[in-house]
C-alpha cells in the first residue's frame, strides 16, 4: 500500500457501481440530430460561427470562444445546421459521418505554444464535471511553477464508472495524454490517485505503466491506490491525500505547484494532439434501475438524453427522475429532452425506490454528525443556522465559500436537512450582493471621473479668461496682482504633489492587478487612473497659472514648501 495522507471527514455511501461497470465500453448509436449548447464549459458561452443551412463535418468549428474563459464548440455530426439560437446550435445528420481533422502533432518535439493552441482550438474542457477550459488551466504555468500533475481517477461518487471504464480500455492512451500535459506545464512528476474499488482499472494502469517503463517515458509516473472514501475525488482532498499539500482557501492547486486532471480529459488531449480530433464525444455512464442495459458509452455531444436512455432499454413506467452527475453532487434533469454536453459524465435513470425523495426535515438536534464528516473541517451546523438567519457576516467568518458542496453533511443528517441547498442559496445571495456592491463602486468611480473632468475644464476656462484679461490690460498692473493676491501657492503645490502621487498609485494598482490576474476586467481601475490624471492636469494648470502671477507679498521660499 503506498503511503497516503488524510483529509478530515468523509463518508461511505453505497457505491452502486456494479450496475454500470460490468459491460464493456461501446459506442452509442449515431444520433440523427444533435443539439449543441453554446455553454458547455465554465465561463462565457461561445459565439456561433455558422448559420442555418451550412454544411458541417464532424469536427468543424461551429462556435468560437468568447472572452478569456471560454471554449470552442465543434460539430459532433456531419450534416446541415438546422438552427442557430442564442443558446444552442442544432445539426441534422446526413448519416455519412464524415470527419474534418486537424493535422497530427508530434508532441514530444513540438513547441508548447503549438500544443497550447491545439488544446484551445480543440475545445477541450475538464471532463470530470466542472468543465474548466483545459488550455486556460495549462496557462497557469505563466504565473506558477508546477511540479506535479495529479491524475484524478478517484471517481468517488456512487454510480459513476466513466473514468473506471476509460482506464480499463485506454490506460496507455490516458498515460500518454498525461505526459503531454505534464510536458506542457513543466511538471516533474505524474501521480495517479485511484480508489481501491477499481481493481481492473488499477491492473490496466499497472500494465500500461510497465510497458511505458520498458519504452522509456519522459516523466516519472507514480500510481497511488487510496482507500475508497467519499469525497476523495475532490481536488483539494485528493491533493491532501496523495501529496499531503494543503491548497490554501480561495486558492488553486497551482498555488502549491499542482495541476489536477481527469483521465477522460487526458484522453481527449491525446486525441486532439495525436489525431487532430476536437472534443466531439465523451464517455457517459448510463445507469440506474430504470434502464435494462446499463453501462458506459462513447456518446456524441448533443445527443438527446432521452434517446440515449431509450437505447439502453429505458422503462418509462419505473422511471422517477433522471440525474445528471452522481447522486451526491449531481442534479435532476427537468426533462430528459436535454442534450449530452461536455459536462455529462453520468446519467442515472433512477426509480423511486432506489433514490427516494428526502422525507420532510425535522429540527436540527445539534448532533454534530455533519461536522465529523465535513472534508473541509467546516461547521455545517453553524453554517446552517447562519444561512437560515441570513447572517452574512458569520457565514463569511465560518468560511461558507470553502464549502465544496460534496453533500456529505446532508447525507448523514438525522434530521434530513437539505444543508447543501441552504449553502448554495446563501452563496448565491452573497455573490449577488458582491456584484451589486461592485457595480455601485464602479458607478461612484465613473461619477468621480466626470466631476474631475468638469473641474479640469473649469480651470482651463478660467486660465484662458485670465490670460485674455491680462493681454487686454497690457500692463501687469497692481490691480491684476491684487485680484489674485490671495492665491495660496503653497496649498496648490501640495495639491499638485498629492494629485501626482495618486496618479502613480492608480498606475501601480492597475499594473499589479493586470499582472496578477490577466482575466480580470480592468475598466474600473482605468477609470480611477483617468480620474487621477484629470485631477493632476487641473492641479498643474492651477499651479502654473498661480506661478505666472506676480505676487505682491513675498512667497515663501521653495525649500519650505516642498511637501
Amino acid at each position: 500500500m503506498p503511503s497516503a495522507f488524510d483529509f478530515p471527514g468523509g463518508i461511505h455511501p453505497p457505491e452502486r457501481k456494479q450496475r454500470s461497470n460490468q459491460a464493456t465500453l461501446i459506442d452509442a448509436a449515431l444520433p440523427s440530430r444533435v443539439t449543441l449548447p453554446l455553454q458547455q464549459h465554465s465561463g462565457q458561452p461561445a459565439t456561433p460561427c455558422v448559420t442555418q443551412g451550412d454544411q458541417v463535418k464532424v469536427g468543424s468549428m461551429i462556435a468560437k470562444r468568447e472572452g478569456m474563459i471560454s471554449s470552442d464548440v465543434h460539430a459532433s455530426l456531419s450534416g446541415v445546421v438546422t438552427e442557430v439560437s442564442a443558446t444552442h446550435i442544432s445539426i441534422e445528420g446526413d448519416g455519412h459521418d464524415t470527419w474534418q481533422r486537424l493535422p497530427s502533432i508530434d508532441w514530444q518535439y513540438e513547441k508548447p505554444a503549438v500544443l497550447l493552441e491545439r488544446l484551445n482550438e480543440s475545445g477541450i474542457v475538464g471532463l470530470g464535471g466542472a468543465g474548466f477550459p483545459t488550455h486556460i488551466k495549462a496557462r497557469v504555468v505563466e504565473h506558477h511553477a508546477i511540479h506535479t500533475l495529479v491524475m484524478n481517477a478517484a471517481e468517488c461518487e456512487p454510480y459513476i464508472t466513466a473514468d473506471d471504464l476509460t482506464l480499463r480500455h485506454y490506460s496507455s492512451e490516458v498515460l500518454e495524454g498525461a505526459q503531454i500535459i505534464a510536458r506542457l506545464c513543466g511538471a516533474k512528476n505524474i501521480v495517479i490517485g485511484i480508489e481501491d474499488n477499481k481493481p481492473e482499472a488499477i491492473e490496466a494502469l499497472k500494465q500500461a505503466l510497465s510497458l511505458n517503463q520498458a519504452n522509456g517515458q519522459p516523466i516519472d509516473v507514480e500510481l497511488k491506490v487510496i482507500p475508497t472514501r467519499y469525497p476523495s475525488g475532490g481536488e483539494r482532498q485528493l491533493i491532501k491525500k496523495l501529496l499531503d499539500l494543503n491548497v490554501p482557501s480561495g486558492g488553486l492547486p497551482a498555488d502549491v505547484g499542482v495541476l489536477c486532471h481527469n483521465p477522460g480529459t487526458l484522453l481527449a488531449v491525446l486525441y486532439a494532439v495525436r489525431d487532430g480530433q476536437p472534443l466531439v464525444s465523451r464517455v457517459v455512464t448510463l445507469t440506474g434501475e430504470a434502464i435494462a442495459q446499463p453501462g458506459n458509452r462513447w456518446v456524441r455531444l448533443g445527443t438527446s438524453v432521452r434517446g440515449l436512455l431509450e437505447q439502453a432499454g429505458l422503462n418509462t413506467l419505473a422511471l422517477n427522475q433522471v440525474i445528471q452527475g452522481g447522486p451526491m453532487m449531481g442534479s435532476p434533469l427537468l426533462t430528459p429532452d436535454t442534450p449530452v454536453t461536455k459536462l455529462t459524465n453520468c446519467l442515472i435513470a433512477a426509480t423511486l425506490e432506489e433514490l427516494p425523495p428526502a422525507p420532510p426535515e425535522s429540527p436540527c438536534i445539534r448532533c454534530g454528525e455533519c461536522e465529523s464528516v465535513c472534508p473541509v473541517a467546516l461547521l455545517p451546523q453553524q453554517l446552517h443556522w447562519y444561512a437560515r438567519a441570513e447572517d452574512d457576516k458569520q457565514l463569511e467568518r465560518y468560511h461558507l465559500f470553502d464549502c465544496i458542496e460534496c453533500g456529505a453533511c446532508s447525507y448523514v443528517c438525522p434530521s434530513q436537512i437539505a444543508l447543501v441547498d441552504d449553502y448554495r442559496d446563501a452563496k448565491h445571495r452573497l455573490r449577488q450582493q458582491r456584484i451589486e456592491a461592485t457595480k455601485a463602486e464602479h458607478a461612484k468611480h465613473r461619477f468621480e471621473f466626470r466631476q474631475a473632468r468638469i473641474a479640469r475644464e473649469e480651470v482651463e476656462k478660467q486660465a484662458r479668461k485670465e490670460a485674455r484679461q491680462a493681454q487686454s490690460r497690457r500692463t501687469p498692473s497692481s490691480s491684476a496682482a491684487a485680484s489674485s493676491g490671495e492665491v495660496d501657492l503653497r496649498g496648490l503645490r501640495i495639491a499638485h504633489a498629492a494629485a501626482k502621487a495618486s496618479v502613480r498609485k492608480a498606475e501601480k494598482n492597475l499594473a499589479r492587478v493586470a499582472q496578477q490576474d490577466p482575466q480580470q476586467p480592468l475598466d474600473d481601475l482605468e477609470t480611477q487612473l483617468a480620474t487621477a490624471k484629470e485631477n493632476l492636469n487641473a492641479a498643474e494648470l492651477q499651479l502654473a497659472q498661480a506661478q505666472q502671477q506676480p505676487t505682491p507679498t513675498p512667497a515663501p521660499s521653495p525649500s519650505q514648501e516642498s511637501p
Partner: protein, 346 residues
C-alpha cells in the same frame, strides 16, 4: 443537491456510518433504557415503572398542549418521540412511586419551560429532564431525597402515588437514604471505615444500586455500539470522574469515597450515557464533546464531595449546558486551507 441519504439507503458498506432519522435515534435511546428500568423495578418495586409511565404520559400531553397553543404540527412532532424520552428519563430519576403531582410539576418544567418555551426540539439550551429534576430537587427536597428501600413489587406505594402522598415506608429517613446520601451525611468526624462498619444501609441496597448501574451501562454500550451516541461524552465524563475520585481517595482514603463507589452508585453511569449525551444541549464538535463530558465528570465529583447535595449529575449537566455556547466557539476545528480556526479570525 444530494439525492442520497444515509437514512434511506440500506446497501451502504458496513464500514460506513449510517445515521438513522431523529425519531429513530430517540426510540433507540428509549429502548436502551429498558434494562435499567427493568433492573430498577426489580429492586425498587413497580413504583419505578409507574413513574416512567406517568412521566411519559405527562410529557406527551404537555407537548401536545403547547404545540396546539403554538399552532405547530402535532402528529409529526409527537412522533419524533423526544417528549416521550424526556418523560422516561425524568421518570427513572425520581424516587419510586413519587406523587403524581410531583411528576406533573417536573414535566411542566421539563417540556413546557425548558423545551417548548425555548422553541422546541433542537432549540433548548438546557437538558429538559434535568431542568425538571433540578426544579423538583430544590422545591421539594423531602419528596426527592427519600428512596423506597429495596422491596418487592408492592402495590401499596402505588396507591400513595395516586393519592399524591409519600408512601409510608419511605417516611423512615434512614431506610429511604441512597448510598450516596448516607455517605454524605456520615458526618465529618466519622472515618469511612467506621461508617461502613455501622452497616448504614438497608440490606442489599448497595448491591441493588450496583446492579442498576450495570444495567444502565449495558444500555449505554448498546447505544454506543449502534452508533446512536458517540463515545466521546460518556468516556470523557467517566474518565474525569474516575481520575478526580482517585486523586481524592488516594489523598485521604479515610474520608473520601472510593472511585468505584462513585461510579457504581447514584446516577453516574445513567447520566454519562443517557443524560449528558443529549445532543441538543451538549457541545457539538468532537473536541467540544470531550471537554463537555470531562467538565460534567469533574463537577459531579466536586459537588458530591464538597457540595450540599449527595448526587450531582443534574447540576453538573446543567452547569456544563451553560458552557456549551462557549465550547462551541472555542473548540472548532481549523478548516482545510486555513491557518487558524474561524473563531480566531479578525
Amino acid at each position: 443537491m444530494s439525492m442520497m441519504h444515509a437514512s434511506q439507503v440500506n446497501d451502504a458498506k458496513p464500514t460506513g456510518a449510517t445515521v438513522p432519522p431523529t425519531a429513530t435515534l430517540m426510540r433507540w435511546v428509549i429502548i436502551a433504557t429498558l434494562p435499567g428500568i427493568a433492573t430498577m423495578s426489580y429492586f425498587f418495586g413497580l413504583g419505578v415503572l409507574s413513574n416512567v409511565v406517568l412521566a411519559a404520559a405527562f410529557g406527551l400531553a404537555f407537548e401536545a398542549a403547547v404545540l396546539r397553543l403554538r399552532r405547530r404540527p402535532l402528529r409529526s412532532t409527537l412522533n419524533d418521540s423526544s417528549a416521550l424520552l424526556t418523560g422516561v428519563l425524568l421518570g427513572v430519576s425520581l424516587p419510586p412511586a413519587s406523587p403524581w403531582w410531583l411528576i406533573g410539576v417536573g414535566m411542566i418544567a421539563a417540556i413546557v419551560v425548558a423545551k417548548q418555551l425555548y422553541g422546541g426540539l433542537g432549540q433548548n439550551p438546557f437538558n429538559p429532564a434535568m431542568v425538571g429534576y433540578a426544579l423538583l430537587l430544590v422545591s421539594f427536597p423531602t419528596y426527592m431525597t427519600l428512596w423506597a428501600p429495596p422491596q418487592g413489587l408492592l402495590p401499596s406505594g402505588l396507591w400513595a402515588q395516586i393519592a399524591g402522598r409519600l408512601p409510608t415506608a419511605q417516611l423512615d429517613s434512614l431506610s429511604g437514604a441512597t448510598p450516596l446520601d448516607a455517605f454524605k451525611h456520615k458526618g465529618e468526624a466519622v472515618l469511612a471505615s467506621e461508617f461502613w462498619a455501622t452497616n448504614p444501609l438497608p440490606d442489599g441496597a448497595l448491591s441493588a444500586w450496583r446492579w442498576v448501574a450495570l444495567a444502565w451501562l449495558a444500555g449505554g454500550l448498546l447505544l454506543v455500539f449502534k452508533r446512536i451516541i458517540s463515545w466521546h461524552i460518556p468516556v470523557a465524563m467517566l474518565s474525569s470522574m474516575l481520575l478526580l475520585a482517585t486523586l481524592f481517595y488516594l489523598s485521604d482514603p479515610s474520608h473520601f469515597a472510593s472511585p468505584l463507589f462513585h461510579l457504581l452508585t447514584g446516577a453516574a453511569l445513567f447520566g454519562a450515557f443517557f443524560i449528558a449525551t443529549d445532543p441538543v444541549s451538549a457541545a457539538s464538535s468532537r473536541r467540544g464533546k470531550l471537554i463537555y463530558g470531562a467538565g460534567i465528570g469533574a463537577l459531579v465529583i466536586i459537588i458530591r464531595t464538597f457540595g450540599g447535595y449527595p448526587d450531582a449529575v443534574a447540576f453538573a449537566v446543567l452547569l456544563m449546558n451553560l458552557c456549551v455556547p462557549l465550547l462551541d466557539i472555542y473548540s472548532v476545528p481549523r478548516p482545510t486551507g486555513h491557518e487558524s480556526p474561524p473563531g480566531e479570525q479578525p
